[in-house]
Amino acid sequence: MSFKTHCLAAVAALALICGSAQAQTLRYANQGELKSLDPYTVNETTTHAHLGHPYEGLIRRGKNLEILPGLAEKWEVSADGLTWRFFLRKGVKFHGGEDFTADDVVFSADRSRAPGSNVQTRVPTGAKVVKIDDYTVDFQLPSPNPILHYQWDTWYIMSKKWAEANNSTQPTPANATTPTFASLNANGTGAFKVESHQPGVKTVYKVNENWWNKNPEHNLKEIIFTPIASDATRVAALLSGEVDVIEPVPIQDIQRVNASANAQVLTGPELRTIFLGMDQVRDELLESSVKGKNPFKDIRVRQAFYQAIDIETIKSRVMRGLSTPSPLMIAPELFPSTGFTRAKFDSAAAKKLLVDAGYPDGFELGMDCPNDRYVNDGAICQAVVGMLARIGVKVNLNAQPKGQYFGKVLKPGGYKTSFYLLGWTPGTSDAHNVLFDIMGCRDNPASSRGESNVGGYCNKKLDALTDQILVEADKAKRDAMIREAFQLSIDDFGYIPLHQQALAWGVSKKVKLPQRADNAVNFQYAIKE
């Protein structure tokens, strides 16, 4: 090779290197909307994930949901477990130029617990937040709480000075007459700044050149977000290359996307557990042919329902292989399910259990199911109806839009259901939330225990364990108690866990992006060629 060709090759190589490192624009489309820029207004995955671009919490969660230092560099817990001390990162600036200090943490704690906030549970009501110095904050708790910081990746820290200057010290409540400045503007410390935001239409983020993290893992200069509600249009936009990332890809379109030249589908289990619940409280089911008694109070009936359901068929036919059958009411990413197995699918055994329980000819009952909330939710319920028919139970399915469904089956609607399908992701990413909200007895009206326990399953021993789990700081002991509690509900056939549904993100072949099981599409780790 001549000197000239060497030079040319060197130039070409250099151009390639520069090309790959070049900052890029990433276009993203989601089914849902970024509803408000105020981080305390809406408690919803899509909105939180978006706000993770301009805003940051004291902690953050890594690619595998592990807890990492965020705006707090480190933290320590006092021996009695009542005081948590957070040491804040120094030299961090908000997008508006304000310094990040302990005042902002105290302010954010107050604001997130103010009326109108939808993230009031992030910082416990009884906790006192005390500034020690500019870069140290104490959280003083009325009782120990080993998972205090678990949800803080989405408890975003706002600037006190900025909020005060813009009359936004309170979040906008749902009955407001005037919105706050913060619902249309953002001022965080995060990797991206909000360049423009039109609610429900388009949001543009630009890279934050002054981010404290000097070695960002992404190579983006801009993110353009557009919500696209229509499934067909969203897939078309990905296939035609108009957007780089979409979420979700409808299950029936996965093959087509994978067959295309410029995009593929990232799939993986989601943290959400889909399960069936049975009314075990009423003396007579609301919609049933059985009068004068409630068949679900009989454990044999509950077991029969459990064993009548062929989870593998649901996986292969309804979910097209994209589900992970689950023995537990919590995802294995959050609590290991080793040692637990699902009760075996066995129609004959189920039929026999029904006969033993005194229903040789089966019975009839109503079932409530959403049809626009979870992946193929309506179809799952259809399949369940068919499977129960084989053991003689006639199910009258009422599949309805989520607006009506949740209004009917949750507490404000008076838990008006006999048999239902629901999905649950513990907001705290911890088993306690499931044991308390879903499996706790709801016999004490003064307590919020079991508020989402629609069927009213109740086991006092499980409740006692749950209370100990809340305050137990020793991880090994705590895990053992969680196992014991879950085993209790399994032995009771209190619930019928079905599966972890799958995430399906459509990603252009030019983009590399880790998929997190909590379904937060965060571009901090995205690389685009």
Partner: protein, 326 residues
């Protein structure tokens, strides 16, 4: 005349109130708005507090009365989802819907009239038969299917036109945004305009064809032919001119329904207009947006009808007399 106008105004007001009442009653069946505002693990005490603060615990008539009182002062409240005033949300979306509606009306006229004229003049030609067949498609295929077919052909397969959105928009004045002044904005308008305008186009084509055939049979056309005028002059100078009068009336009236029925097209193309905002608000049980949108659309129809009635009365005194006699 004054009495007539007043009576018509009063009737319009009654219509608006009935629409509001029916819409408001329907909201009860959409679902529970509070569950869409809070997350599933929000403490129920807080849920109850939100429900109370929104006045959802009040009796139906109290809620309705409050709504009408506020609406009369042009207060449409704050969206539950976005926590922003409904008026500004709708105002922001209005330019997109109006531009789409006008473009699709323009498309339906620009394509529908020549097609109608052609099929009337050359009834037996193969092209005319093809146009007739296309018009059948336009009438029988649902809008969303047409939209998706166009997207697959022109966006995914050919890659010529965008599949969603408005492209780049330019701001005119304080709140009007337009896509008409940028290349990507114009390109983004093509597919949704065709989708939305196809039905109107078919309608206009068939109307023009029928009217034209009617007019061509009229005596003055025969006389014009007898006088030896050129066919071209007869067709376009005399026949078409007389055909267009009813067509323009219909096209004007149809504009209202284009705006109102843009919902499906806007959803398919993720067109950031009022229709899409409305559909999303139904899914999210965002009652303030739903109510304001329905009121706006009924206002649109009521005003168009009122204007038409008044114009007719102005033009035709007999109508005034008969209405007045009742």
């Amino acid at each position: 005349m004054l009495a007539f106008i007043l009576r018509r105004l009063f009737q319009s007001l009654i219509v608006m109130l009935s629409v509001a009442l029916i819409a408001f009653a329907m909201f009860r069946f959409v679902g529970d708005p509070v569950n869409q505002i809070v997350s599933i693990d929000t403490p129920q005490a807080q849920v109850a507090e939100i429900r109370r603060s929104l006045g959802l615990d009040d009796p139906f008539l109290v809620q309705f009365g409050r709504y009408i009182y506020n609406a009369a002062r042009l207060e449409f409240g704050v969206s539950y989802q976005f926590r922003l005033p409904v008026i500004s949300l709708l105002g922001e979306r209005a330019p997109a819907t109006l531009e789409l509606a006008f473009c699709s009306a323009l498309f339906s006229l620009a394509v529908g009239i020549p097609m109608g004229v052609y099929t009337a003049l050359r009834r037996e030609s193969p092209l005319a038969k093809l146009f007739q067949a296309i018009s059948l498609v336009g009438i029988s295929l649902p809008t969303f299917l047409i939209g998706i077919l166009l997207i697959y052909l022109f966006s995914v397969t050919l890659g010529w036109l965008p599949s969603f959105g408005r492209g780049e928009v330019v701001k005119i004045g304080s709140w009007w945004t337009t896509g008409l002044l940028t290349g990507s904005g114009l390109k983004a308008l093509i597919l949704p305009s065709i989708t939305l305008g196809l039905f109107q186009m078919t309608l206009i084509m068939r109307l023009v064809r029928a009217e034209m055939l009617e007019v061509l049979r009229a005596d003055y056309i025969k006389f014009a032919r007898a006088r030896g005028l050129k066919t071209r002059a007869i067709h376009f100078g005399h026949a078409l001119k007389n055909t267009l009068v009813p067509v323009i009336t219909i096209a004007g009236l149809q504009l209202g329904s284009i705006i109102a029925f843009a919902i499906i097209t806007e959803t398919v193309f993720q067109w950031p207009g009022m229709g899409q905002l409305f559909l999303r608000s139904v899914q999210n049980v965002d009652i303030p947006i739903m109510a304001a949108y329905l009121m706006l659309i009924s206002f649109l129809f009521v005003s168009i009808n009122l204007a038409v009635d008044l114009l007719y009365a102005l033009v035709d005194p007999r109508l005034r007399a008969t209405v007045g006699a009742h």
